[in-house]
């Protein structure tokens, strides 16, 4: 057990975590250079495209240290985006230490801080690594000072590295051996193992990722999940070595996987404790942080017939994404679908894209909402995250909305721009402090509903990419909430409704009408689009009817082309929703999602 190290790499987005992981994997020769694909742990397309890690991956690296001993290094990759704090916390709970990666030119950012705090909560040993030292803009001394001042860590222990150029990798490997503690565990105690992740394999069912705290586990064991007392017979255990590598047993301190014919989603709970059915441990592992969804939206299949397919897809997706929650929902306009809870807007986008790419689903997503508290005249309190369930306004005594504490770190020359952005979003500036002579941390209290759309993108824009952002929900505050409805030819489309602050209704309504005008295809008749609050129309736009729709020329070369177009349009229509006589394309629903920008 002394030869095991369990660790994560924590970093702000883009500070080079995936590249460092790649280099460490290469340093251990478990993948040949020839077969090496950059960012090997980011195995979802969307992760590679966006350069972010969403789904944590684990890899067990056999490593021969300078002291001549053979070690098992379990590198647990963690997501690097603000929405995925929960995934980070699950990964960190199975580690003894962490590499804190900091970009030598960017310095300490909001998520560097947030992730460090998470790691410290788990009592992890921290090794600071200053990355990208090869960049001309690298300022090592400044970053060292930030490590001392902002993070309260000893900067003398920081390793200088360039993962891209392979500089400092050997030092990192040795530091993991020397500075991080081996797991403290009792291999002879009853089995106690922690589920920190799981994913779905179409051939083997659910693959459970776990860390053995005490005891040992092997194929043939009858295991029990302590949250629901479900029992399974273990078919296979093994280590993650890029591919799954079966082994005889997994002992205390190790990280591995198990396959036990677990077919249904609900049986695997991340944070659950695995023990032996015959000889259980006395107490389960204490507390994982509960992932609390903060953004809610409904997902509908474009074709009503695809509802059951979507159900299966969501079930499978949930296997890989414990933070996704959903329940059945219905809409007059869109039929059967699901109300889903997400950790944030990026999480929502990731789920949407995965449903479309990996599961080939054509879906419509409704306007995201936060959870409001509505107090009725009779004093009863209701949680509302779905505009469809918004009560009759005359019965409402008071509405409350969630507020966040936002921490934004920027070079101070962007202070004015950030201030303007946050005030526009109904933010309240609570505090600011200089972290260094030119970098400032600004603290705002902002309604959550104001940041779930495009706040992060906007922040990046106004700070030319230098602004970093982290947040936590603090409390609920009294708000003036209204429901904005969209009417198409006089018919209310429930899936386009949204709950907004009264002061925002006019603007949102106007932009929604303009956007919809551009997305709804012209038809034979005039289409009126209206935004309404209560019975009052607050915005409108019109899609003019066709005055002609005819292809003038049709000779030899035009016939096949036109036929192919007609066939394509026929397919496209299956992706449209009829509202009364009006056809709404998927893009119309998406357009309303983006109504927050001024353009």
């Amino acid at each position: 057990m002394k030869e095991i190290r369990n660790f994560s790499i924590i970093a702000h987005i883009d500070h080079g975590k995936s590249t460092l992981s790649d280099r460490m994997i290469q340093a251990t020769d478990i993948v040949s250079d020839r077969n090496f694909q950059d960012q090997i742990l980011d195995n979802m397309d969307i992760e590679r495209e966006r350069g972010i890690t969403i789904k944590s991956q684990t890899v067990c690296l056999p490593y021969k240290a300078n002291n001549g001993k053979q070690y098992h290094l379990n590198l647990i990759d963690t997501p690097g985006h603000v929405d995925f704090t929960y995934e980070v916390s699950r990964a960190l709970a199975s580690c003894e230490g962490a590499l804190l990666l900091i970009d030598a030119s960017q310095g300490v950012e909001a998520q560097t801080l947030a992730n460090l705090f998470l790691a410290l909560e788990h009592d992890l040993e921290i090794i600071p690594v200053i990355n990208k030292i090869d960049l001309p803009s690298a300022d090592i001394e400044r970053v060292k000072k930030q490590i001392e001042d902002d993070l309260g860590l000893d900067s003398k222990s920081a390793i200088l590295a360039s993962a891209k150029e392979g500089i400092g990798i050997a030092e990192v490997m040795e530091a993991v051996i020397e500075k991080l503690p081996p797991p403290q565990a009792d291999p002879d105690a009853p089995l106690k193992a922690l589920i920190f992740d799981s994913h779905y394999d179409p051939f083997r069912g659910t693959i459970v990722h776990f860390r053995v705290i005490d005891g040992r586990i092997k194929a043939g064991d009858q295991i029990r999940f302590m949250s629901n007392n479900a029992t399974y017979k273990v078919e296979e255990v093994g280590l993650f070595q890029i591919v799954r590598n079966p082994s005889k047993e997994i002992t205390a301190g190790q990280v591995g996987y198990l396959i036990a014919g677990i077919k249904t989603v609900s049986d695997t709970r991340c944070g659950d404790t695995i023990t032996l059915d015959a000889k259980p441990c006395s107490v389960p592992m204490s507390g994982f942080k509960e992932a609390k969804p903060v953004v809610f939206a409904s997902i509908y299949p474009i074709a009503a017939d695809d509802y059951s397919e979507l159900t299966v897809a969501l079930e499978k997706l949930k296997l890989n994404d414990a933070s996704l929650i959903y329940e059945k929902d219905t809409s007059v306009a869109l039929g059967f679908g699901f109300r889903c809870g997400f950790l944030g807007l990026l999480h929502l986008e990731v789920v949407q894209e995965r449903l479309e790419r990996e599961f080939d689903q054509s879906i419509i997503l409704t306007v995201p909402s936060v959870q409001y508290k509505i107090i009725l005249n009779d004093g009863s309190e209701h949680i509302v995250d779905n505009p469809a369930l918004y009560p009759d306004p005359t019965t409402i005594e008071q509405s409350l909305e969630p507020f966040i504490k936002a921490s934004i770190i920027v070079p101070d020359k962007y202070m004015g721009a950030v201030m303007k952005l946050c005030l526009e979003r109904r933010g309240i500036n609570k505090n600011y402090q200089y972290l260094t002579s030119s970098r400032i941390e600004m603290i705002f209290e902002i309604p959550l509903s104001e940041v779930i759309y495009d706040f992060y993108d906007k922040l990046k824009t106004v700070t030319q990419g230098y602004g970093s952002f982290d947040y936590e929900i603090i409390d609920y505050r009294i708000s003036k909430l209204v429901k904005l409805d969209i009417l198409i030819n006089g018919e209310r489309v429930d899936a386009l409704s949204q709950l907004v602050h009264e002061d925002r209704a006019q603007q949102r309504g106007r932009i929604a009408c303009e956007r919809l005008k551009d997305e709804i295809p012209r038809q034979m008749f005039k289409i009126a689009i209206q935004g309404a609050v209560g019975g009052k129309i607050i915005s409108r736009s019109t899609v003019n009817p066709f005055r002609k729709d005819v292809t003038a020329k049709c000779y030899g070369g035009d016939i096949s082309r036109k036929r192919k177009l007609l066939e394509k349009q026929k397919k496209g229509k299956k992706r449209m929703k009829m509202v009364g006589k009006v056809m709404l394309p998927q893009s119309a629903f998406l357009a309303v999602l983006k109504t927050d920008s001024e353009s």
Binding site: R547, K548, V550, A552, C554, G556, G557, S560, L566, K573
Partner: protein, 383 residues
């Protein structure tokens, strides 16, 4: 639908132009140095495609600008075609010419080769619009060209016109129509200006540098065209085509709309022999390369299933004022047109977009304006 006929139509694409017109998306190039290589490739293609066993009752040499070739080269093509296919004196033989490219002498020679129909790319009788379209001739040359064709003895003359240009008024277009009527061609093709992607005009439109005339105005021009030409004795037999009575319709072009077989020769040319459609490489060098190595220069080859054939039957049938022949439609597709599409048809009858009698179902002039939308809806009803 008219009697489709099993006789073959032959089209030859001459891919050369003096310069490219801004709106045109037909394949052509301006490097005349390639003409002789092209002609030998064409010779090979004609030999490979030879069907002396089938009667061919139309030959259409279009482009591009066929009249850019030397008259002897045109004669040579006709000779080669005559040897490879089964043509006779009744064959409709059309040559496309552009104003400013052919003299009376040339036209007399064309007649001597057997051409009995001349189609002239007039496009407009207004020099400003000709400039906008990027044409290389002026209105005066257009009139000279028409007169030359008449004096060379051509009785069957067709003119192409374009309307719906930016800022064009009803009056401007009416003037063009009246000028055309005065010249008494047997056939008129009147096209709404289309902004084809990748053409200079299409790119300008995409970039917002050209503001198209509004659909309302264009629709009005379409109605006016129907009325004015109708009064002058022209029959509106297809969306964009008019003739002085049915006998002067373009027999060749009707083959496209009536699903008759045709062979297309030259780059980008399309051929049809249902359920098969195929077409040649668009680009001249791929076309010539294939033929140089003795292969047909086929770019794509389709075999249409029943549904695809039905889609085409609907679209092409409703383009023509003869409309869909209910009996042959039933025979061809095993579908009762009126019953099968009844969900949509009632609305069209109510709107007066469509009319039906015992034999045919056809679009009205109003209905023609919405042909694409109507077809779209009918296609959606196909299971």
């Amino acid at each position: 639908m008219q009697e489709t006929g099993s006789n073959l139509g032959i089209y030859v694409h001459i891919p050369f132009c003096e310069s490219k017109c801004r709106y045109c998306d037909f394949y052509s190039i301006t490097d005349k140095g390639l003409i002789s290589n092209y002609l030998s490739a064409l010779q090979t293609e004609i030999d490979l495609m030879a069907r002396p066993d089938l009667k061919s009752d139309t030959l259409y040499i279009g482009g591009g600008t066929p009249s850019l070739l030397h008259y002897k080269q045109i004669g040579q093509i006709v000779d080669q075609i005559t040897m490879a296919f089964n043509l006779d004196v009744t064959t409709e033989m059309t040559l496309e010419v552009n104003p400013g490219t052919s003299t009376v002498r040339d036209l007399q020679d064309y007649a001597a080769f057997g051409f009995n129909r001349i189609n002239i790319g007039i496009q407009s009788f207004n020099d400003d619009y000709l400039g906008f379209l990027g044409r290389q001739h002026n209105a005066k040359q257009s009139i000279v060209a028409i007169e030359a064709a008449v004096s060379a003895g051509f009785n069957n003359i067709g003119l192409d016109l374009i309307y719906g240009l930016p800022n064009q008024s009803q009056k401007d277009w009416k003037q063009d129509l009246l000028t055309a009527i005065k010249l008494a061609p047997k056939h008129l093709s009147c096209y709404m200006l289309t902004y084809e992607p990748h053409t200079p005009l299409g790119i300008d439109h995409e970039a917002g540098r050209v503001v198209p005339l509004s659909d309302i105005r264009i629709a009005d021009m379409f109605r006016m065209t129907h009325d004015i030409l109708g009064t002058a004795g022209y029959e509106h037999y297809e969306i964009s085509n008019f003739s002085r009575g049915s006998r002067w319709r373009s027999r060749h072009n009707q083959k496209y709309w009536n699903l008759s077989p045709y062979v297309g020769l030259g780059p980008s040319a399309h051929s049809c022999s249902l359920p098969r459609r195929w077409w040649n490489h668009r680009d001249l060098s791929s076309y010539m390369d294939a033929l140089k190595s003795g292969h047909l220069p086929i770019c794509e080859d389709e075999h249409l299933n029943q549904e695809q054939q039905l889609i085409e039957g609907l679209y092409l049938g409703l383009r023509q004022t003869d409309g869909i022949d209910l009996k042959s439609f039933q025979e061809r597709y095993q579908i009762d047109f009126q019953l099968y599409f009844s969900r949509a048809l009632d609305q069209y009858f109510a709107e007066n977009w469509m009319s039906i009698d015992e034999k045919n179902c056809r679009l009205t002039v109003e209905g023609m304006l919405f042909l694409d939308r109507i077809i779209d809806e009918l296609v959606e009803l196909i299971d």
